[in-house]
Symmetry: C2
Subunit: 219 residues, 2 copies
DNA sequence: ACAAATCAGTTGTATTTACAACAGAAATGG
DNA sequence: CCATTTCTGTTGTAAATACAACTGATTTGT
């Protein structure tokens, strides 16, 4: 677990805490480390989750497959981000989606009740973590609403432009990489891959964008 | 403000606290009451919000209008629910959406920093509120993902069935009312109103559903 | 109670998308 | 390094959707 303390130090959840404090909190918060191979399921729809988890290595997708094999990617998790936090309250019910490793990944599980119950003196950074937790989940909330804004556009082109310009803003640059290949981007935006590929090329031919693999430039 | 303490008592945010405790907390948390007429904007996209707010009377929609007048309804707020919580962190930036009263409404504003900063002894229910806050925002998170699941369906019929069956489950009954008229439902599901109306009637003719105004029955 | 405004359903047409099938490019795995 | 698999772009067709226009029903405001 020690090798990931440097990672944790740069997460939003532990922002403001030093490496020693994090080290101390790891046991206080009941931290457990798990590893996953590419393609492994971290969680499956229908399971019950009672942990707050942080990705410290690799990459994850939150996705849903229907009976006919159509896949919807509802979000992606990058190193340093937490996930599963929406399901830790007592009455949250079963997970609606799968969480899948898209690369070999490492995840730290925390006991949510130990986080939310402020221990009297042992961890002076505890209230900091609570505030961070609130801020991070509220940020995730904003991202979800932003994604809703993208896919509630009617046409494939509008969805693409909405998503790509948001990514450009987020990266503070008109050139950026996205965490999806074409099929995954189509699943993320809920459109057909070939139609999207077609639209991307039209936009390129019209001089709106340039792209190569998962790297895009807005013009 | 006193007349709304009974409402606050039944909110998720104040779950477990008695009326006296809530009364005491109102000043501790810097509560302020505002009233809005139907059609008034509670918040506008581009504004900066620094309060946690709870709707104690009426009804709100969270929505976005684009240049061409297309409206997307990203969510609705019912009495007792909080909103704006996603924008209270220091680096959250400006609001992306409008919050509009769909009926005459009353809203209580709380100072988020007073909520998150645990006061030493004055409010023994303070840590309870923090836990409630976390659980409610995480529930909102789940709802957003559920909504993403609905509108990421490809066809209008699938979107309708996904949404309606979710509402049926949520109401624990195959008969239920929805907080939208047809245009609003179409904006919520990101589809064309007339196409949706058409599809609803087809589904009724096929014996899948029954409906009258905003009341639906799944068969 | 009446006029005006809003709402829900219907229809036809132009546009857009989904789906399937395929070919070349790129990545992967011995 | 070569064979295999995966990925991306392309095309044609069938299906679904958006848009506009209109009607009758319902609601609202005075």
């Amino acid at each position: 677990m020690k090798k990931y303390i440097g990672i944790l130090k740069n997460t939003k959840l532990f922002a403001g805490a030093g490496e020693e404090e994090i080290q101390a909190m790891l046991s206080c918060l009941g931290a457990v480390l798990h590893h996953y191979k590419k393609g492994d399921y971290v969680f499956r729809a229908g399971e019950y989750v009672h942990n707050l988890t942080v990705l410290v290595e690799g990459g994850l997708h939150i996705q849903k497959d229907d009976y006919w094999g159509n896949r919807a990617i509802l979000g992606d998790v990058a190193v340093g981000e937490m996930f599963g936090e929406a399901y830790v309250s007592p009455d949250s019910g079963a997970l609606l989606n799968d969480v899948v490793a898209v690369k070999d990944s490492s995840v730290i599980f925390f006991d949510i009740y130990r986080i939310l119950s402020v221990c009297p003196s042992a961890c002076k950074f505890h209230s900091l973590v609570i505030k961070n937790l609130f801020f991070e989940i509220s940020e995730k909330n904003r991202k979800l609403v932003a994604k809703l804004g993208h896919i509630s556009n009617r046409t494939t082109r509008e969805k693409l432009l909405s998503y790509l310009s948001d990514e450009a803003k987020r990266n503070k640059s008109s050139a950026f990489s996205i965490p999806f290949n074409r099929q995954q981007l189509a699943d993320f935006l809920s459109v057909d891959r070939s139609a999207m590929s077609n639209e991307l090329c039209k936009m390129r031919d019209e001089g709106l964008i340039e792209f190569n693999k998962n790297r895009f430039v807005l013009l």
